[in-house]
């Protein structure tokens, strides 16, 4: 299945220009592994970056008619669904390189709440921390906001946030102004890669109570 929620264009550009920090580069690499749409966009930007580097004269910009014809003929086919993984969560390699283990069930999860586990990734460089979360189906994360931007990339299961559904490969980017409640899909646990620039700021009594125990 092709993701619906993509890398924002400015993150694609920063990725192409090599200007992302380690946390963002990891999120981008994992999304790009799961998203041929964004890989195509990144390839376009990479080509632009290459062309800019060469800084060729303007007259080289004329496109021959034959080439236009060729492009008109090249309408991409709809994408077939990817084969369903057989029960196991297939973790993309950029992530496995940090985890050392490819099996979600064998990761050293730390229980932070009944139904919610997390795992901090050891980054090479100090910077924005990255963690993985595993949340049981049906869990509701009460109304809260964040001090900074939050990026959540779904690896398994799914959740609904503000009427939008997020499943494997989908990236949710929330600015600090966003207050949200997250409803996890019933059924299998949701596994996600999460980058928070700041801490969670609870907005409801229940979230305030949670935040005593959990450093989101």
């Amino acid at each position: 299945v092709i993701p619906v929620h993509h890398l924002p264009p400015e993150l694609l550009l920063a990725t192409s220009a090599g200007r992302t920090d380690e946390a963002t580069a990891l999120v981008a690499a994992v999304h790009l592994t799961l998203c041929p749409t964004c890989r195509a966009d990144l390839a376009r930007l990479d080509a632009v970056g290459g062309a800019l580097l060469e800084a060729a004269p303007a007259e080289a910009t004329k496109v021959p008619d034959a080439l236009w014809a060729k492009l008109d003929a090249a309408v991409p086919e709809p994408t077939p669904p990817a084969p369903a993984p057989s029960g196991k969560v297939l973790l993309p390699r950029p992530l496995v390189r940090y985890l050392g283990v490819a099996d979600v069930d064998r990761l050293p999860w730390k229980r932070i709440l009944p139904g919610a586990d997390e795992l901090h990734l050891p980054l090479d460089r100090n910077g924005t921390p990255v963690r993985m979360t595993r949340t049981r189906g049906g869990f509701v994360l009460p109304r809260h906001t964040h001090e900074g931007t939050e990026m959540t990339l779904v690896l398994a299961g799914g959740f609904t946030d503000g009427g939008e559904h997020f499943a494997r490969g989908d990236l949710s980017v929330c600015g600090p102004s966003v207050t949200h409640t997250i409803h996890f899909d019933p059924g299998d646990p949701c596994v996600a890669l999460v980058v928070n620039e700041g801490h969670l700021v609870p907005k409801s009594a229940w979230a305030k109570a949670l935040s005593w125990f959990v450093d989101f």
Binding site: A14, G50, A82
Partner: protein, 101 residues
Amino acid sequence: MIDRFRQGRRPTVDLDDPALVIAEEPRVDALEAQDRDRLVRAALAELPAEQADVIERAYFGDETMRQIAGALEVPEGTVKSRVRLALERLRRIAGAWELVP
């Protein structure tokens, strides 16, 4: 061992990754490099100056989106929307070029 493996690495896509999700191949062969260059240059030449400027700054100016916004004295959201518009135009002018394995 893992540390040694990772050392000095920047997270990037591994095209041999079994988790890689692949779109169906387009009906034409990949463009030749020369044709692709022409298209990219045409796309660049057609970009409005304010969009091209943001792209160039991102590659060569050593600037983040926030810094670009500061330098241009426009809100960061304006810079982001210029990047988005530029990317949409690139998709249109060269939508079918196939660079993706």
